[in-house]
């Protein structure tokens, strides 16, 4: 197992956590190729989570292209996050942990974690920035309904960065009993690999599906990138297909890969929004799930090697794509996924595959607020 991705990754955590990471690494090494583990995940995926998710051709949204959406929004709980939460809950049970903690930004990972904890009878505590609790109120209510305790994080930017720090502090204090169910392909090794392997199902299915539907591979695969879990899951099985262009789309105000520099945050070295002294800077995005100054270390490596490209998308561009998909296809996308949709429309290629990582019900209040504040209401019929 690799603990690093080129010059990125690793384990930058206090000593207190190292033995727990060693234990997790050893357990993961056994499980990742274990037939019974895979069978359990497959069973949960097909009988509980709604896998496989379909590919949907969106002719009205993208009349100039053959664009397909990988419909992770149709997963139980409404986003790809459940792939990871289910898998890690199985790992936590094998480790004998009964208390689960998680961080959440948009609330989708928090909801997925609360869901699997309810399903398996595990105690669940979710750390969430108070600003994100305001932006994503419906998801807070869902987590409470599922029996999770949502702990507001009231310092710093009150968003995902601080929620993650606070979850790690809880883990340091309760490491004997607690499993940290991290929500993206970030954090100390072996988490980035675990999350990638659990999300790989997205790209594995999508690759088979598009071959079946079109008889060929797409020219371009597009996914949004906050921490980067839906993107790494979507990209991974296409990496050996050298002719397939991989495009990650970051929020313009949170472009850890586009405008970041190497640094250390939340246990790993990666590309970050940081200043020249290594102080982490604030990210800004209308989408709480992309509002994070870091990114998974494997994405930083994919950028450096040139295998994937990472493009920015502004709040307004994402909103225009959001409205356009609603009105042309009857699908309400998550604001996170709307970033991928916006850049996918720009791709001057015929066959393009986009990961629709989640549904946008949670975002309605935020969209209406933003548009009434800014006085803009993007008219999707005239936007591209």
């Amino acid at each position: 197992m690799s603990l690093t991705y080129g010059v990125y990754g690793g384990r930058y955590v206090p000593e207190t956590l190292i033995p727990a990471l060693d234990e997790l690494e050893a357990t993961w090494a056994e499980l990742r190729d274990d037939e019974s583990f895979r069978a359990e995940l497959h069973h949960l995926g097909t009988t509980y989570a709604g896998r496989p998710t379909p590919l949907t051709r969106v002719e009205r949204f993208a009349p100039e292209q053959r664009m397909y959406l990988k419909r992770e929004d149709l997963m139980h709980t409404g986003a790809h996050k459940l792939n990871n939460a289910l898998g890690q809950a199985v790992i936590a049970r094998r480790l004998g942990k009964t208390r689960i903690i998680a961080e959440t930004g948009a609330g989708q990972h928090g909801v997925a974690t609360a869901t699997v904890c309810a399903r398996f009878g595990l105690e669940c505590i979710v750390y969430m920035g108070s600003e994100d609790m305001r932006r994503q109120a419906p998801n807070v209510e869902r987590m409470n309904l599922l029996g999770a305790e949502v702990r507001p994080v009231e310092f710093g930017t009150r968003t995902l960065k601080e929620a993650t720090s606070e979850a790690i502090r809880d883990w340091i204090a309760n490491v004997d009993t607690t499993y940290y169910l991290i929500g993206s392909c970030v954090g100390p090794a072996p988490y980035p690999e675990i999350v990638r392997e659990l999300q790989r199902v997205i790209g594995r299915e999508a690759r088979e599906q598009i071959l079946q539907l079109e008889g060929r591979l797409p020219e371009t695969v597009v996914a949004c990138v906050g921490g980067g879990s839906n993107a790494i899951g979507m990209f991974y099985d296409f990496i050996p297909d050298e002719d397939v262009r991989l495009i990650g789309v970051e929020a313009a105000g949170a472009a850890s890969l586009g405008t970041g520099r190497p640094g250390v945050l939340h246990g790993a070295r990666s590309s970050l929004l940081a200043d020249e002294d290594g102080q982490i800077m604030d990210a800004h995005s209308i989408s709480a799930g992309l509002d994070y100054p870091g990114v998974g270390p494997e994405h930083a490596q994919l950028r450096d090697t040139g295998r994937a490209e990472y493009l920015p998308c502004t709040d307004d561009e994402a909103l225009a794509a959001f409205h356009r998909l609603c009105e042309t296809e009857g699908i309400v996308p998550a604001l996170e996924s709307s970033h991928a949709l916006a850049r996918a429309l720009d791709c001057d290629v015929e066959l393009v595959l986009v990961c629709l990582s989640g549904r946008g019900d949670k975002d309605l209040a935020e969209v209406l607020d933003y548009e009434s504040d800014s006085g803009t209401e993007p008219d999707s019929s005239t936007s591209t």
């Binding site: 000593e15 720090s165 246990g267």
Partner: protein, 252 residues
């Protein structure tokens, strides 16, 4: 500039043969004055924290102190100046304590070189495990969760003394000394002869005395940072109370 101790070990026991007292201060413009007050009141070693925006191992007191320091412009270059100004006032070992991100951004070798030139005796990098970057000679931390193999690894690579984190948790004031210190000290003693100093959650003379029964020294962070915010006189009073508790133990 005062003489810098050649080796950390030389100061691991102070002149009276009493237990060693380590005091943490967040780097601020008034740190030199505060460090001098702490040393005059009986501190044997000063840790100077270079603030980091996302301090995973720190509880609320040091986290807020770090936020204030950053707001006051305490970036790496300014912190190095404060380190040099502190060195000009005190001759005890000075330890630069920070997070990996600060080293990574400044350059690992460059920050080590510049800090030593400014008077740093050693380093503590809270989120850098003992097996990573062994070329940076530093004080290693071990925790109640550390396996015996990791205790041995940290002890063999540590710079002068081993920092025993008393709790599974972050820095911060706690009502009682953690019961996990005794078994950790016992396990550490079994694998190494280096001095053992305990920190995290030691905030009162009673804690100091109880911890010093088990180890060779103590490190005080959050409560010292709080006292330092009240000024040098309050810091000196607090450090003096810890010194008194440790010295009483030596006499008893």
């Amino acid at each position: 500039m005062s003489t810098q101790p050649e080796k950390l070990e030389s100061d691991s026991q102070n002149e009276s043969g009493s237990k060693v007292l380590v005091v943490y201060l967040m780097a601020m413009p008034d740190t030199p004055e505060l460090a001098q007050a702490a040393v005059e009141a009986g501190a044997d070693i000063i840790e100077i924290g270079f603030p980091f925006s996302d301090p995973l191992a720190d509880g609320p007191v040091i986290r807020r102190a770090g936020e204030r320091a950053l707001a006051a412009g305490m970036r790496t270059a300014r912190c190095l100046e404060v380190l040099a100004e502190t060195r000009a006032r005190v001759s005890v070992p000075l330890i630069l304590m920070t997070y990996a991100s600060i080293f990574d951004a400044h350059g690992w070798e460059r920050l080590e070189r510049e800090a030593r030139a400014a008077g740093a005796t050693s380093f503590i990098v809270v989120d850098l495990p003992a097996d990573v970057r062994p070329e940076l000679r530093r004080v290693q931390l071990v925790a109640p969760t550390s396996t015996d193999a990791r205790l041995k690894l940290a002890a063999t690579s540590t710079d002068g003394w081993l920092y025993l984190v008393t709790v599974t948790g972050t820095t911060g004031v706690r009502p009682e000394l953690a019961p996990s210190l005794a078994p950790l000290a016992e396990r550490a003693r079994a694998v190494t002869d280096v001095p053992l100093y305990a920190g995290f959650g030691i905030s009162t003379p009673e804690h100091a005395r109880a911890a010093a029964e088990l180890v060779d020294g103590i490190a005080v962070g959050s409560r010292a940072v709080e006292a330092a915010q009240e000024g040098p006189a309050e810091l000196a009073r607090f450090v003096g109370s810890l010194r008194g508790a440790l010295d009483a133990l030596a006499v008893a």
